[in-house]
Amino acid sequence: MGKIAKYTRRGFMGLGIAAAGGLAVGYYYYKKPYPNPLPDRLEPGHFSFTPYVIIGTDGAITIITPRAEMGQGTHTTLAAFVAEELDVDMNQITTDHGPAAPVYYNTAAMAEGGPHPFFEDGFVAEALRSAMGVLGKFLALQITGGSTAMIDGFDKMREAGAMAREVLKMAAAARWGVSLELLTTASGEVLHPDGTRLGYGDIAAEAALLEAPKSVVLKDPSEWRILGKSQTRVELLDKVTGAPIFGIDVELPDMLHATVAMAPRFGTKPLSADKAAALATPGVLNVVEISTATVTGFAVIASNTWAAFEGARALAPTWGAASYPNDSAGLTALFERALEDEASFTFGGEGDAIEALQGATDVIEARYSVPYLAHTTMEPMNATAQLQNGKLQLWVGTQAPGLAKMVAADLLGIDADNVEVVTTRMGGGFGRRAEVDAAVYAALVAAETGGRPVKVTWSREEDIRHDAFRPMSLAHLRGTIKDGMPEALDMKVAAPSILKSLLARTFPSMNSPGNERAILDGAFDQPYSWPHARFAAHQVDTDIPVGFWRSVGYSGNGFIFESFLDELAASGGQDPLEMRLAMMKDPRHAPAREVLKAVAEMASWGQSLPEGVGQGIAHVLSFGTWVAEVVQVDMRSGAVKIDKVWAAADPGLVLDPANFSDQISSGIIYGLSAAIGQQITFSDGMVEQENFYDYDALRMAGCPEIEVALLENSPRMGGAGEPGTPPVAAALGNAIFAASGQRLRALPFGNAVGFDLG
């Protein structure tokens, strides 16, 4: 195997360097490429071409899809990028997540981090986008989030496929002694003009010895065979046959089971715990205390998961007092005070809203609120770890394997090179699996098992009560109308910083980041022109951990901002659709106008509806995708029945139409579940909710019909996983107003009105 390994490494390095230079996306790349992690891991007879393609002499083709598969179809579309250029069919390939390695960093995840709207493409915005991208490279953020997997993979992975294809052609040209230009490729074979063929596997060994071309030409979209068409998802069979693909299904020889009992008051230490009772529980083997910036509490190690759960119950620890207000009323008061304080910072805005409002007589004023939210991924948090001879192996469904590796290595005091992360399929992510807590807990428990592997599974109760929550926020908005149209807006939002919270629990030594755009995302960066507007953040941080929840800042502000626009329309006597269109004056707002017009047509907006039935509309641009939604409700029975949801979305380029529509629809259902009934509240310093009986989500009977249309007017590619969520709460609230005249300004709506969920 030595010989093969040497050849493959050389072949690969050539490609790696070539891939970093002179290509369309070259400006993203810092000069020196990260090494390819594949050659060391190859089986005999397998060769890697770029970090994304492995070809075996038996003809087996594996495509590395280094992003989290949480059900959003990422692996399918990423594989399609490579397959398109490599000229193989989707049924000729298998996919593999690959190892955690810096070469798989995600530039796009950081690229939208600066304080500029997506449609702003001036010099500063562009410079910031690329600077953030370079930062991503330095941090080696192999993360899946911000709906960025496709944007990041689009060039990189098509180029990888094209590079591999060219090298295979070169090998065939050499074997046949013909010129390269005469050869073509199709379905995993190189074709000679005389009809002779060579399978990729037949020439892989020779091709791996060759130096790659300096650059490659990518196909014109008109030549695409795979991209732009709906593909069968690569993991479909596994998922209908119950294959053990998830982190929670990991089974290893001699494996122990464990669970966690973490501090229910965040940041506190245990005062007491009944270890004897826990140890007396049949099957319980050990109880260990864990205390780090990321996680504090106990782990109960047992011979099976259920015994561990029972042991954790018996442990019954007590905890110190919380550093933050004990209950939701106290938290609300804290956030209200923050609204009265000076603004922490402002983003965007136009004119002078403060002055315009000062002289005004008819000020429209409203207070909005959104609660903390848990993610409740269907698969509860879990991870498996084994620590042997100073080397840690982790099996975990994570959206951030690079981060998990770094933090776990740091806490165990070992080198990151001695940590290997196997990323499993995950039963939902929604941002929750960007956190490293489950992996870290497992790593620390593995230090207590004498080298035996241990799977740490959280109960649903621990999962809900120890989330990195969608932040609670309060907003105070004031606006004026002139000639029926919005004239001035002052929007103040009190909310915590997610990045500050994330750093505190992940990299406690790092300084707090700058002004966080998530606090104002979904308001300051939306495609409207105002005579006067001001968007002010009133940052208010507590020890309650907050994190990335599907669509992040847009999830709360999309609701607040688009609901208040509806209030302004009502005050000005305007149709909510027409008023929005009239405010989208800038030519760069055109994609927003088009999705609004499309969704209005789908929903027959403006038709006369019976008394008690109403439609609401909203538009939010998030993660580069423009989404307009209409919700229709029927309140004639007294309760709110959601008849139907229509959505029109524009991501610029639709790579897989069926998958994209499914993601929009999934985002709508996720957002509706939250808008109708979800809230994390506090009492005695602890989260009050425990399980699906008090933190539920939509089920079949309550799920409305959903119709999605896709447009392609936007100049840049946008994401799929998150943008469906932000508009739906506002569209629902606006529909309730249209049907009943009742304006709901606090989520979840279920606190104020009843819902008919079948």
Binding site: T305, I668, Y670
Partner: protein, 149 residues
């Protein structure tokens, strides 16, 4: 105690009050039934006992009477059950975590009610899916029932 799972007899030494879910997953290494809530509130752990859907996280193992079928035991040899085939046709799964439970619930339900109405589907398919695959679940059930699609 003796358990019959997917046509195979197993003898296990488990405490009487241990939920069937954990006996299957941790003792017999049958991973199709998933853990979602542990309190009977989500349906991810659904198995069939004597053909009836049961949430195995709240069924203590001593109370099991009858043969158990998990998703692993659903296909006949290489041939997928028609409900699984309908799931593939409609590409129902997103993350897939809830789907074993959804499929087994649908199998039992269609045995009892071969031509369900939408209202029947609403009433019977109460398992949670956090990915929101409900529209495709509904379509796949109709296909499995030979009703449309």
């Amino acid at each position: 105690m003796e358990l019959m799972v997917n046509g195979e007899a197993h003898s296990v030494e488990a405490p009487d009050d241990m939920p069937l879910l954990w006996v299957l997953r941790d003792m017999l290494d049958i991973k199709g039934p998933k853990f979602g809530c542990g309190v009977g509130a989500c349906g991810a752990c659904t198995v069939l006992i004597a053909g009836e859907p049961v949430r195995s996280c709240v069924m203590v193992v001593a109370d099991v009477e009858g043969a158990i079928t998990t998703i692993e035991g659903l296909p006949e040899g290489e041939r997928l059950h028609r409900v699984q085939q309908a799931w593939i046709k409609h590409e129902v799964p997103q993350c897939g975590y809830c789907q074993a439970g959804q499929i087994l619930t649908a199998v039992a339900f269609l045995e009892r009610n071969p031509e369900p109405t939408d209202a029947d589907i609403d009433a019977e398919m109460t398992n949670l899916c956090r990915c929101g695959t409900y529209p495709r679940l509904r379509a796949a059930i109709k296909t499995a029932a030979g009703m449309e699609g």
